[in-house]
Amino acid sequence: MQAMEARPGYDRRQFLKTAVAAGGTVALSACLEISDEQVPGGVGDPSSLPDRQHAWNDRVRSDEYGNVSLPRHQSLLYLALDRDGPPTDADRKVVGGALRTLDRAYERSNEGLIHSIAYSPAYFERFDEPLPASVDLPQPRRLSPFEEPQFDTQDALLHLASDRAEVILEAEAALQGEREQVNGVAVDVSITDALTVDDRRSGFVGPGMPADRQDVAGIPDTEPVPEAAPLFMGFEAGFRGNQATEDYVTIDSGPFAGGTTKHVSRLRQRLEDWYVEQDFEDRVTELFSPAHAAEGLVEGVGENLGSDSGLTPEMIENVREHAREFGRVGHAQKAARANRDEEGNVRLLRRHVESTDGDVAALHFPSLQQGISAFEEVRRAMNGTDLTDEPAIRQRVNNGILEYIFTTHRGNFLVPPRRHRVLPSPRPA
């Protein structure tokens, strides 16, 4: 951790880029020494916050087209309950207290801290009664004929997001009992009195960040990631027109009405062939569609696209014709086949971020939807297995971006509404 010492002349940006990935108290203390901006405080009464834990969009930045810019630094804490059977009142007191401390300490925004806690099917199996039918939350499973991911079956997932690296680190320290106060608010309990951090994964997203961090396994040494790109693959993503609304992904009935479901995968990225074997046009073909490349619809990192990816119903419908004519199909056009309801609404709200944990390029891919089945259907459409009868389309080659991504983890979670966010039973009153 000697590398984490802040020293004169050390470029702040260079330093902060490694801080969240490194984590821990040394990173934090070094971080605090070089960052003296005031962090906005939270609310006196946490119950005054909105009921939807997943309502982030009106609390973060948006660009001129209304595309949401996710907080630049994120961390995913996979938590295990320290006992067999259902949680106790004492456990709930601890977890509730720890979450309320964060609410009071930080403004719920990209300038402060946004957080949400979610629970796995394995957690709910601690109880005798099952989840109600209004919650579509199966155990995680294999979603392609070629992947063998590890399944994340820890009890809970606490997701932290902020534009400030030091906020993520300080919040983590507070949760783990390493702070007496956090942003001026006293810390009475630590979440680790009831839950153990089984795994910690860090993420980042935003223009410049991938280019700054491309010196990792999976990215060729030619430093190909454009400065303007928010993601390693070199293009913008998450356009407003291609994302479900928060309303749409919200569970609308039953005890968890106001909540949502969350699938989180980790995908290792191997971009040597993406950047070296493929040229720009090939990359546009494989990420968007052959029509995008043929018609020159994408400039640079896609900054010309505005508020949607330019995917038309025709491109989605003609995926098979594209397979035949171009010998390739695009990732977006394939997935979109299952990512629209009958009225044309987008079904998934994707909030993916990049990662360099372990000095390996990877993507953390949280997706929110009313039920996990929606995610599974979109992922199966993205596999394009039905298109492989066209011989040029292989299981993973010429088939969108499947050649370059390797799913290492999958987990399913329920993000309860705030009123039930503390170790809920399957049928809370």
Binding site: E148, G327, R328, V360, P391, A392, Q395
Partner: protein, 347 residues
């Protein structure tokens, strides 16, 4: 530690290693250039390379054989387009995985394969590798890998994805789950340099090098015509030899009375040609069937392209290549199997 610092820090050692494997360097220079004007056909390449077996392992429903050789140049195929992948100076090794059914020994050419290399749990490399065809090495999946160091030991994990061809007969319902085989591989440049490497003076001749016999690993030679059941006939179109047969529909095929199976293989070595688009017209007095055939893997018929047909006494069959084999080609195959004329035979 950042990777580039690590690489920079290791550069002195790297230089020593390179100095110590001068023959490898000179070997690289010795690779004869690709022929200027190869025939549009199977031809003898300018040199031949051997390979060494790392091991075989049965995992899930598959047996996987892992072999290695010098880094290779090869050509990837998308539709009718051919693109050369040259040897990069950083390439350490060409890894080859062959996947077959342990019960019948039939090679499964239509599975998806990726290879991950780690050392002490740290990622060294991971790639989706291509289905390939090589004269000495037959039907396999392969790719060049970088980042291996002389004398170091690695875990090589070969991940096999479900087959994209329809399994029929007793294969029905099989090969639909992924499985991974793990091998320990010590990369030694001295061992690699001991692998056969010979220049050939008959480069460009319309012929093929013999398949290398490796007892432990099948090379993907298609079933001999006499081993295929039913009423069979054979014909040639350019460098594709077809064996067609009319048989009872195998299990797993919703059936009419009869089933047409077409098994294309390479002219000289008889390797199965996979991942093609083939269509067929079967006519007696009128057209009996006309359409695209389905890529199929069957324990009795081998890898073939098939469709159900009504029973016919005798009929004329035309076979058209809609899409040439979508397999990457080692040298000597890269110009073959394009623009193949329609083949005709009597069944």
């Amino acid at each position: 530690m950042f990777r580039r610092q690590f690489l920079a820090g290791g550069s002195a050692i790297g230089a020593a290693t390179i100095a110590g494997c001068g023959s490898l360097e000179s070997r690289a220079i010795d690779v004869p250039p690709v022929l200027d004007d190869p025939p549009d056909a199977i031809y003898v390449p300018g040199h031949v390379e051997g390979m060494d077996l790392v091991g075989t392992e049965t995992t899930g429903e598959y047996t996987v054989g892992l072999s290695y050789s010098y880094p290779h140049r090869f050509w990837t195929i998308t539709g009718n387009e051919r693109e050369r992948t040259s040897i990069d100076e950083t390439d350490s090794v060409h890894l080859m995985a062959t996947v077959w059914d342990p019960e019948t020994g039939l090679v499964l050419p239509d599975v998806g394969v990726s290879i991950e290399i780690t050392q002490d749990g740290s990622l060294v490399s991971q790639e989706t590798v291509y289905a390939m065809l090589s004269q000495p090495m037959g039907v396999h999946h392969g790719g060049n890998f970088t980042g291996l160091s002389d004398g170091e030991t690695y875990a090589v994990r070969v991940a096999v994805g479900a087959t994209a061809s329809r399994p029929t007969g007793t294969f029905t319902g099989r090969f639909d789950e992924p499985a991974t085989a793990t091998f320990e591989f010590t990369f030694e440049t001295s061992a690699m340099q001991a692998i056969r490497f010979e220049r050939l003076d008959r480069a460009g001749e319309r012929d093929a090098l013999e398949g290398m016999s490796m007892d432990a690993v099948p090379t993907g030679v298609a079933l001999a015509p006499e081993a295929i059941p039913g009423r069979t006939a054979t014909t040639m179109a350019d460098d594709i030899r077809y064996v067609a047969s009319l048989v009872d529909p195998p299990a797993g095929v919703d059936g009419q009375e009869s089933y047409l199976a077409v098994s294309p293989r390479t002219r000289y070595n008889g390797y199965s040609l996979s991942r093609m688009g083939l269509s067929a017209t079967l006519e007696d007095d009128e057209t009996v069937t006309d359409g695209q055939l389905t890529r199929t893997i069957d324990p009795d018929l081998g890898y073939h392209y098939g469709t159900t047909v009504p029973a016919v006494d005798s009929a004329e069959l035309s076979i058209t290549v809609d899409t040439p084999p979508q397999v990457a080609r080692h040298e000597g195959y890269e110009t073959a199997f394009f623009d193949v004329p329609t083949a005709k035979l009597s069944l």
